[in-house]
């Protein structure tokens, strides 16, 4: 695919939409770049808050015994840490990328529904304000884990459950509106000649992710509603005495929850699939197989949910079905990992920070994938269930997977966003400190889990002490390291070497045809795309 170099749009002033000044610009904006920026900053603030909660958890677990927090508050910390990282950090960060990049990548003037785009963002801070305010309520924050299993969240929940439910409702509304905007933008706003199979893989992964969101966020809304009525209005969805079943909660939750974990990883695949070809200076190996693999993973995600529930006493047929379907996911995922490696094979590689994070992603995400495969085996899962092995697994996937891809993407597009090159030395410090500390943080958790340490406990048996000490040290180091990233970003916004339109020589795509920083409005006239 080759593209014309686009002249900077000289029609800006004819739009009649000069930027508003000050806070109003951000509150009233309909501009996809402004909204993308808001999403990204919001996600980073949430990452720091969620990270701070995690540091208190690790401080408590530094040595056996109860030192800092009482067990109920410990449960509140793990619960809110999970909710914030999933719904406040990872998902909004990806939506931020989608907002910034998709209109530029498909040659659209903006997102398809710009006002709704603003609404999707601005309800999020309010939702998290409500969630975080529960810490200051008499009963304390939700304490039933981010998965809020009934009856912990119904019969045995504390007084803040209703606020939790309505906060989740708002997050869901935000995600659904954001996803509808992404789908409509991609289906309806592509520049002439940009056929589906010419779209950058980044766009494809967000397209498929958005479908997953529209399909499963309403299920989440349904399950929290059932939880609300069970808790406050006397319904019997999850109450066996009334003919319901607590396990029903888990079925509905994980019918949402499993696609949800792919919602948090498919965009990461898209980002990495954009960056690796750029720094290997080769086309992405097997583009169409990547598209089909992404779609396969998305479809399979709807029929594997009960692998989270092997120990609930499912019928044997169910256990076998969900075990084999889950293992099937390894096939399209393997295709992807193979393609990334094949893209690098005999490429002219260079190792700028985006590439370093991407390579780390490929290796560490694969570790997370393999531990997932171990957890998929029913008989083995009986031992691993609810141990630190599970914690290790999903942190490898979400931190060294999703979060690393977010960092990779942020470094990759920072020149386009700010118009300045970031400080490569400082960025490399960020990468290497993160890489070392994150493995110190999460790798020993595998051993803890295999040895039988359960998750979500404030105290543990003595034999787990050594590993926990190292895990906590890794945790503090990883947390502090993220401040380097903040420094890099602030420095980059304030100044630095001027970035050319295309700072990475292997990079491809329409976003590199516009100047850096990208003008406030791009592609008011659709660009021409040729073969």
């Amino acid at each position: 695919m080759t593209t014309d170099v686009i002249e900077q749009d000289s029609h800006d002033e004819h739009h009649g939409d000069h930027k508003l000044k000050g806070i109003k610009r951000w509150l009233y904006t309909t501009n996809h770049k402004d909204i993308g920026t808001l999403y990204l900053w919001f996600a980073f603030i949430m990452l720091l808050i969620g990270g701070a909660l995690a540091m208190v958890i690790r401080a408590e677990l530094f040595q056996p015994g109860l030192q800092i927090v009482d067990p109920d508050f410990f449960n509140q910390l793990t619960t809110v840490h999970g909710l914030i990282m999933v719904f406040g950090a990872i998902m909004p960060a990806f939506t931020g990328f989608a907002n910034w990049m998709i209109p530029m990548m498909v040659g659209a003037p903006d997102m398809a529904l710009p006002r709704m785009n603003n609404w999707s963002f601005w309800i999020l801070p309010f939702a998290f304000a409500i969630l975080l305010s529960t810490f200051f309520m008499e009963s304390g924050a939700p304490n039933f884990g981010w998965t809020f299993y009934a009856p912990l969240s119904t019969t045995y929940s504390n007084g803040s459950t209703a606020f939790f439910v309505f906060a989740v409702h708002i997050m869901g509304i935000s995600s659904i509106m954001g996803a509808i905007n992404i789908v409509v933008t991609i289906m309806n706003m592509r520049a002439p000649g940009m056929t589906y199979m010419k779209m950058p893989l980044f766009v494809w992964t967000f397209f498929i992710t958005a479908y997953l969101l529209i399909a499963v966020m309403p299920i989440l809304a349904g399950v929290v509603t059932m939880l609300l009525t069970d808790t406050y209005f006397g319904t019997s969805f999850f109450d066996a005495a009334g003919g319901g079943d607590p396990v029903l909660f888990q079925h509905i939750f994980w019918f949402f929850g499993h696609p949800e974990v792919y919602i948090m990883i498919l965009p990461a695949f898209g980002i990495v699939s954009t960056i690796i070809p750029a720094f290997a200076r080769k086309q992405l190996f097997g583009y169409s197989s990547m598209v089909y693999a992404t779609a396969s993973i998305a479809i399979l995600s709807f029929i594997v949910w009960a692998h989270h529930m092997f120990t609930t006493g499912m019928p044997l047929f169910g256990e076998l079905f969900f075990m084999y379907c889950t293992m099937l996911i390894a096939v399209p995922t393997g295709v992807k990992v193979f393609n990334w490696v094949a893209t690098m094979w005999r490429g002219s590689m260079s190792f700028e920070t985006p590439m370093l994070f991407s390579i780390a992603f490929v290796i560490l995400f694969t570790i997370g994938g393999f531990s997932g495969l171990m957890l998929a085996l029913t008989p083995v899962d009986f031992q691993y269930h609810d141990t630190y092995f599970v914690v290790a697994h999903f942190h490898y996937v979400l931190v060294t997977g999703s979060l690393f891809s977010i960092y990779a993407g942020a470094y990759f597009w920072l020149p386009k966003w700010t118009g300045h090159m970031y400080n490569e030395t400082l960025a490399k410090w960020h990468f290497w400190c993160s890489l070392i500390s994150v493995n110190l943080l999460f790798f020993p958790m595998h051993f803890l889990g295999l040895a039988g340490m359960p998750r979500r406990i404030p105290d543990y048996a003595l034999q787990f002490a050594d590993f926990n000490k190292w895990v906590s040290i890794g945790g503090f180091a990883f947390g502090l390291t993220q401040l380097i990233f903040l420094a890099v970003v602030i420095k980059c916004i304030r100044g630095g070497e001027k970035a050319p339109a295309k700072p990475w020589d292997g990079a491809e795509g329409l976003e590199w045809t516009v100047p850096s920083p990208a003008p406030y409005h791009t592609f008011s006239t659709p660009p021409k795309i040729e073969d």
Binding site: T30, I180, G242, H251
Partner: protein
């Protein structure tokens, strides 16, 4: 640059409605949270007022926002592509609503085919039956719960059947209104659309009458009557809320028709409201089969 003619896509400069809407949702969530939390406590809360303020603000926001959109549309700022965006947006919104109902239908089918039989000792659950509630008999509808709450079944004939006929008829009248609009027959458009709204309102009225029957001492069918009452009221209740929303949409469209809006080629709001109406109709048919009849 491109030589092909293209229609420019209207991107509104900025809008204060979304942030008004965000504050409104915040008030609704805080108000509802406080209201629900203090529901069973003696002192009561102030949540109801915050909730009400939030709802008023949402109505105000929707009114202002849609006025903007309607004015832009009437002044010809929208292209064919914009129309497509609206259509696709509405379609995916309806799809998300389908999934919301899927969660509740899933719960109903799970209870009927799995959890209630298991409580009665089906499959490998003989000990569950024997140890927890040995007296419990598994039947659907579950009129006696394991803990002994009793209730009565809501029959499908009578009001529910009448309601089914009403809604199916209203789907036909909505379609006829659409055909009339396409032929630019304004008079028939008004008649069919008005009739659709009327049928919707009668449906809602009869639904309330049915609920009053259910909550009478005679039937004792409450939200708290175990899984049968739970699924009955939650499914019909959420459906009723969607019918209410659909009726409001149709009323707004009707008022716009009276003002002379919509042409055979430019009638997105009309079509969106009618899609939504067909959607609540289909949900009702599924609901009628699985909640009332089978």
């Amino acid at each position: 640059m491109t030589t092909k003619e293209y229609e420019s896509y209207y991107v509104p400069s900025h809008s204060h409605w979304p942030i008004v809407g965000a504050v409104a949702l915040f008030l609704i969530a805080v108000g509802a949270g406080n209201y629900v939390s203090t529901l069973n406590s003696a002192e009561g809360g102030f949540g109801g007022y915050i909730l009400l303020a939030g709802v008023c603000l949402v109505v105000y926001m929707l009114f202002g926002w849609f006025s903007n959109v309607i004015n832009e549309s009437m002044s010809g700022k929208y292209s064919h592509q914009m129309d497509n965006s609206f259509r696709q947006g509405m379609s995916w919104f309806i799809f998300s609503e389908v999934m919301f109902f899927a969660a509740f239908f899933g719960a109903l089918l799970y209870a009927r085919t799995l959890s209630v039989p298991w409580l009665g000792g089906a499959d490998n659950n003989a000990m569950t039956g024997a140890v927890l509630w040995p007296e419990f008999v598994s039947v659907w509808p579950l009129l006696t719960t394991p803990d002994g709450t009793e209730t009565t079944k809501m029959g499908w004939y009578g009001l529910p059947l009448i309601n089914t006929i009403l809604l199916l008829t209203s789907s036909i009248t909505a379609h006829l209104a659409h055909s009339a609009l396409e032929k630019d027959n304004r008079k028939m458009l008004k008649i069919w659309l008005g009739l659709t709204i009327l049928l919707g309102i009668v449906f809602l009225f009869l639904q309330v009458v049915e609920y009053m029957h259910g909550y009478s001492d005679e039937m004792k069918l409450y939200l708290t009557s175990g899984i049968y009452g739970t699924t009955f009221y939650m499914l019909t209740g959420f459906h009723g809320m969607h019918v209410t929303l659909g009726t409001i949409m149709l009323i707004v469209v009707f008022l716009r028709v009276l003002k002379g809006h919509f042409t055979p080629t430019n009638a997105f709001a009309f079509e969106a409201a009618s899609w939504y109406w067909h959607f609540v109709d289909v949900v009702w048919v599924i609901l009628f089969v699985f909640v009332y009849i089978v």
